[in-house]
């Protein structure tokens, strides 16, 4: 009992007992480490902000060209733009030149295609294509390609 009382009464910073003093100091150090620091003096904060503004690099301005290049990069870069451009120009030329019924274009690559790809007039007249059954179309194709 008396030992317990002596332990309770002992000063935690008593340098004669190293272990308790160390423990108490360590507890104080831990508290001090974790504690939030007080606010900055107003004049110091203003001076720090002024320093920061003075040496801060200028904002990076992104040009429209750079933005477009970045956008294109997502789609394969400049080569992809060339392909898309060529396709667009071809479409524009076809639209302006109006080369006529597409059946003629197809038949120039595939002789006999006109039989299965009639012109607009043939489509609009009843009983021309719609009268063919699938088997008849295949037979017709075979005969044309032979």
């Amino acid at each position: 009992m008396s030992d317990d009382r002596n332990r309770e009464d002992r000063d935690p910073f008593d340098a004669r007992a190293d272990a308790p003093a160390d423990a108490a100091l360590d507890a104080l150090f831990a508290e001090a480490r974790d504690a939030a620091a007080g606010p900055l003096p107003v004049t110091l904060r203003e001076a720090l902000l002024a320093d920061a503004r003075r040496v801060q690099p200028l904002p990076v301005r992104v040009s429209w060209g750079a933005r477009i290049r970045a956008l294109l990069a997502d789609f394969g870069g400049a080569p992809s733009l060339a392909g898309v451009g060529a396709a667009g120009l071809a479409g524009l030329w076809i639209g302006i030149a109006a080369p006529g019924p597409t059946a003629d274009l197809v038949s120039s690559f595939w002789q006999g295609a006109s039989g299965v790809a009639p012109g607009v007039a043939a489509w609009t007249s009843e009983g021309t294509v719609l009268d063919y059954t699938g088997a008849e179309l295949l037979t017709l194709l075979d005969s044309e390609t032979d």
Partner: protein
């Protein structure tokens, strides 16, 4: 005085960004990043500098110089390495120890340690707060002991790091730290009630 970080108006809340990310934003010219960073980091730097120097004006000078160096290194900062806060505290510790050397006009490690004054020298303390008591007691330590104790026990530096900052060897750091702690214990002895240690 406004110390709470502003949220800014970007796509993400800058206040939630890491120190690394804020430093990168600062380097890109974001004006709000500097304010957020300094409100996060500078108060602790000032506290460290004051603990080391025991002089408010000098501590503010060190804080300003350390923060300026952080701004200047921002464009070259490599994220993912040392934390900006850790880097900043190292810089501040070095700046403070340099000032202590110049203050004495001789190398810090050539100063003989004074004899320990009698226990109870902290009786002049009027605050009961533990941290104030600790800071007051730290202020009563000889410079070299105070620097070693603060860097070791409050900043978490290793003994070799402290030795490098103070320009002394590791064994000297260990000796200074041990003597500093012993002296702190003497200064705080008998103050159990004031420091909140119940009987």
């Amino acid at each position: 005085m406004t110390l709470s970080p502003s949220t800014g108006s970007g796509e993400t809340d800058p206040g939630g960004l890491s120190d690394d990310a804020l430093l990168a934003r600062y380097a890109e010219g974001d004006p709000s990043a500097a304010r957020l960073l300094l409100d996060r980091l500078a108060p602790r730097v000032l506290r460290l500098a004051y603990r080391l120097l025991q002089d408010q004006a000098e501590a503010e000078d060190v804080t300003q110089e350390a923060m300026l160096r952080l701004w200047q290194i921002a464009p070259d900062w490599q994220p993912g390495g040392a934390k900006p806060s850790t880097w900043l505290h190292r810089v501040a510790a070095n700046l403070a120890t340099d000032r202590l050397r110049k203050r004495r006009g001789v190398a810090l490690d050539s100063i003989p340690e004074p004899d320990d004054p009698s226990p109870g020298a902290a009786e002049g303390m009027i605050e009961a707060d533990r941290r104030i008591a600790l800071d007051t007691a730290l202020g009563q330590l000889p410079d070299r002991q105070r620097v070693a104790v603060v860097l070791r026990h409050l900043e978490g530096l290793t003994n070799p790091e402290i030795g490098a900052a103070m320009g002394i060897g590791v064994e000297a750091v260990e000796s200074l730290t041990a003597r500093g702690k012993r002296r702190l214990a003497q200064l705080l002895a008998g103050r159990r009630d004031e420091l909140g240690y119940e009987r």
